[in-house]
Each structure stands twice: as C-alpha cells, then as structure tokens.
C-alpha cells in the first residue's frame, strides 16, 4: 500500500545573513496509515522545519522548499495552491505546538476556537459545531466540558490548554497529527497524561502521528519508528526498539546515553550518564560535504571529514548515515 505521507529528497533553504543555508538537506522518509513516528535530535537540527514544510508554513520570504517532494496521499504539497493547502491544514493534517500557554488566542473562549475549525472545514452550523466542541472537550478529558467550553484560555492550566489544542487539532479527524514537542512546557505528571491521551485518541481515530521531540523517553513511549536528525540530515532511522537496543550511529548512541536510567536499588551500579561534547554546528556549516557530526564524534576518522557518509542499511529496517555504522 502507498504510504500516507512520502517525503522525497526534501531540501529546505533558509536565507541567513551569511547566505543561503540548507536547514534540511536531502531528507526522505515515509509515514504509513495509522503509524506513529518520532523525529529526534537537539535544537536546531531541522525537526520543526520539517514539520512546518509539511504544513506549508515555512517562514515567508526566509525559508523555501528548494527541491524534493512532499507527497500526501499522492498529492505533492510543495506545488499545490495556497487554497488547497489551507483546506488541508487543520482538516487533513493538523499540528499542535510546544507552548500551550501562548498557542490559544486569548480573546476567544476555547469553545469558540474549537467550533471555528469545525465551521471552517466541516461546514457545520453554529449549533452543531458547538455540540461537537463540547464532545471534543469531553474526549480530551476536560471535566465538566459543558461549562468549561465557555472559559477563556487564561482560566485554564497549561495541561488543560494543551488538551484544548489537541481537541482543536483532532476536531476534523485529520489523517496526520504533527506534534511539535507537545509536552516540553508541561510538568512531568501532566506530560504522562498528555501522552496517554494522545495514545488513546490515536487508537480511537487511527490518526497517524509525527512527534517531534528531544526526549528519548517520549519516543520509546509514543512511536514505532524514529528518525534521528542531525544538522538538517537524517542520521539514523529505524524501529524504536531496534535503535534503542543497538544504535548504528554514534549520535544516536550519544542521545540514548544522555537519558538517566532509574534503578530500583539506590546502591546498584548505574549506567554512566554521558554527554555529547560540543554543540550543533551553525547554519553556515550545514550542507558541507562531510559528516557534520564529525567534530563531536568519538569514532571520527579522516574519511568522515572528507565526504558525506552514505546510508548503510541494517536488516532492511534500520538505516544509518555513518561511515562506521558497521562498527558502532
């Protein structure tokens, strides 16, 4: 079966003061019907740019799709009209953002904001949209939805606001939900609740989810497959379980070893907690013909500094863009 979303050789260029930089450099991936994938990587690796490109929301005048295709149900989103894109946004592909505190419009009640999407995309009347909005608030487990629907965003907590955002995003039963670090701004306990909610809603609606995060724990909890991004390139891709069991890219390995493991007994030996030295290169260095991770890599060799690594495939499912993937 054709995948729901197929991104082919996507290259996104950003205009910077120093010139044009490829924030996304030759990225390809697929998302199946009902599948959940995760994009992982540090800040500035191009995760959010990928999401915005799919939504057709790259910063105007600054970012553009330079080459490649984004095929959604066979339709290339990089060339469709603005009108068609607006139809798709919020209806067939929707998105939730990192900051629930500022992602809701402060001057409208949450009910109005949910009903608005339904009216715009589903041609529902005022009454039907309102009834549906109440149901959605109930579905995202906001207690007493009939009353809370008249609340303004300032009357809600961060977790509740993120639930409202999820209600808005799922209102039109989209085929794809893009969640850009949906829990980064929330308390740990609330994070768990939001993940539970997303998992349950996914089971009920069959929506495919693209989750962007830098939290390996969230990945393990939410996704079947993961794509590790580094400096605008795909470093590694594969099933979450396989990658956590045996990462084939030193960067992935570094990310995994950054996550503390809880041990049952405090006196037990813990796995050493390491960090990846250095930082993500600046935009100016993106796109060079070498392994961009080489400056931080513990296994670096001359080859890494001279040529961009080719992708090595393992077991037909796991792919790593590293010259030394075999040895990792």
């Amino acid at each position: 079966m054709e995948p729901l979303l197929k991104v082919e050789n996507l290259r996104i260029e950003l205009k910077t003061r120093a010139g044009v930089a490829p924030v996304i450099d030759d990225l390809s991936f697929e998302l199946g019907h009902g599948e959940s994938i995760s994009f992982v990587g540090e800040s500035g690796c191009g995760k959010s740019m990928t999401a915005l490109a799919i939504m057709g929301l790259l910063p105007e005048g600054i970012g553009r799709v330079a080459s490649g295709r984004i095929l959604f149900d066979g339709e290339d989103l990089t060339v469709v009209s603005d009108r068609r894109l607006r139809d798709i946004r919020g209806n067939e592909i929707s998105m939730i953002f990192q900051e629930p505190m500022t992602s809701l419009n402060p001057v409208y009640t949450v009910g109005e904001q949910i009903a608005e999407v339904l009216r715009a995309h589903q041609n529902l009347g005022q009454k039907a949209a309102w009834a549906m909005a109440t149901e959605l608030l109930d579905a995202v487990r906001i207690p007493n939805p009939g009353r809370r629907i008249n609340d303004y965003p300032f009357q809600m907590s961060g977790g509740q606001r993120q639930r409202v955002m999820i209600a808005i995003a799922l209102a039109c039963k989209p085929k794809i939900l893009i969640a850009d670090e949906p829990t980064t701004a929330l308390d740990v306990t609330v994070q768990a609740q939001i993940f539970d909610l997303l998992r349950d809603l996914r089971r009920q609606t069959g929506t495919s989810i693209i989750m962007i995060t830098h939290d390996m724990g969230a990945v393990a909890e939410m996704a079947e497959r993961m794509i590790v991004m580094y400096a605008g390139r795909k470093a590694e891709e594969g099933p979450v379980a396989d990658i956590i069991a045996h990462a084939r890219h030193p960067y992935t390995r570094g990310l995994i070893s950054c996550v503390p493991h809880i041990v049952a007994n405090l006196t037990d030996a813990r796995e050493e907690l390491t960090e990846i030295p250095g930082i993500v290169p600046g935009l100016g260095e993106f796109g060079q013909d070498r392994c961009l991770f080489s400056a931080r890599c513990p296994q670096v060799t001359d080859k890494c500094r001279k040529a961009r690594p080719e992708t090595a495939i393992f077991g037909g499912r796991q792919a790593s863009a590293c010259w030394h993937a075999e040895e990792v």
Binding site: G61, G90, E99, P106, R147
Partner: protein, 292 residues
Amino acid sequence: MSDETFHTPVEKARSPLAEAWEMFRQNHLAMVGLGLLILIVLGAIFGPILYPTDPYEMVWAPFSPPGAEGFLLGTDYLGRDILAQLLNGARVTLIIGLAAAFVTVVIGITIGAMAGFYGGAVEEFLMRFTEFFQVLPTLLFSMVIVSLFGASLPMITFAIGVVSWTAVARITRAEFLRIREMDYVMASRASGAPGLKLMFTVILPNSLPPIIVQSALMVGSAILFEAGLSFLGLTDPNVVSWGQIIGSNRQYILEAGYTVTIPGLAIFITVLAISLVGDGLNDALNPKLRKR
C-alpha cells in the same frame, strides 16, 4: 472527585477586562475625567430638552453678562442665550469629535493592518504614503479641504479624519508586527485560517488596546481641531458648535470676554476629561508601561 473541586481554583482567575477595570478604578485622575465626561455627555443629550430655549433666537439685549437678567451665562453679540448655545453645541462638538475619530480609526486601521500583515513592498509603500500625510501641515491641509469642498459638517469631519489618521496607522502596524509572530497566530494558520480572517479576527482583536487608547485621545484632538477651524470661520454658520460660538464672537473678545471664555472653558474641560480617561485607559490596558 466532584466537579466543584476542579472548579474552585479556576473561578478565581479574573478576566483581563476585569483586571483593566480594576486598574482604571484605582486611578483617581482617570475616574475624575470619566465623571466629567459622563456629565458632559448627559448635558449634551438631555440639556437641550431640559433647557428648551432656542439657541438661534435673539432672547435679550446683546452682551448681557452672565447672571444678569436671568440668563445664567449671558447673551452673545446677537443677544442669543449662551447657555442654550453651549448645550446644543455640545451635541455637535461631541458628534464631530467622535465621527472624526471614527474616520481616523477606520483609515488608520485599514492602512496599518495591511502594512503590518503583508509586509514587504506593500508595507514599504503604505508607510511612505503615511509619512507623506504625516509631514503635511495638518491645519493648513484641512483648511484647504474645507474651503475647496464647502464647510458642511460631514466635510469638516472628513477633513479632520484625513489629516490625523497617521498615528493610528503607525500604532496598528507596530501592533500587527508584534502580534503576527505570536504562537496563536501560527496555530490559527496551522488550522487553515485564510489571510483576511487572520488579519481581522485573530490579530486585530489582540492589537486593540493601544488603538483604543489612541482613538480616545483622537476624540479630544478632533474637538480642538474643529474649534480651530471654526475660529478661522471655516464652519457651517447655521450649526452651533463650541468652536463656532468662539469664532462668531471673536471680534468682541475685548468688550465681552465671557462670550469666548465660556465655550473655551467647555472645550478645555472636555478635552482634559478625554485625555485623563485616555491616560487611564493607557495605564489599564498596557500593563507593561504601568510598571515603569
């Protein structure tokens, strides 16, 4: 767990509007201004009904000083009752002030919103256009409009509006530039809102506070403007407004000073009240300025 347990902490959150009113109420000067303004508006609405003397009719000998012969504020050079003129003129003056401010806001918001929202060449063009209007000598320009197209009230209102919209346009543009980058605007885009909807239902309502403040102050300056034009004789002589009272009596300023002083005071108090309310609104609606 009952619903009530969920609700208790939430009910305490106050709406931004309630908070703004609380701020405004604690500002004594603003409250004084508001009180004065309410009195003036009530006077304009009910005054002519409660004091039905015809403002255009000669009721007594000209130049009767205030208090004499039973006319509280005296009579003007044609023997017309100044109190009656003042009460009737209040309607015209306030209506011109509000209407001119309205024209200002409509032009200003349209131009500012388009400049701030679309950016690029559109913004460049619209802002140069605004600057062109900004450097025109305002009084002179409005005099030209009024003398070319006739001194009717709508034309005077239009003339005032056309020369004073630039401040509103600049404020609107600045707010649009700021709000455009907000997360909720991105979220609205992501749910498929088209440009016009973003402009007028998402960004505009959130940019309103400073625009409201500016428009309130605009009413005051429009009243002053009208008075200036009237003083120069550029007004409809058949309609009594405060500026027109001053204008028609200005030749007698030395013999009967009260004929110009009284409407002058009325303008002064009204504009002061509007400024006080405007300042109060500014403090209440822009919490960031308040803390300075």
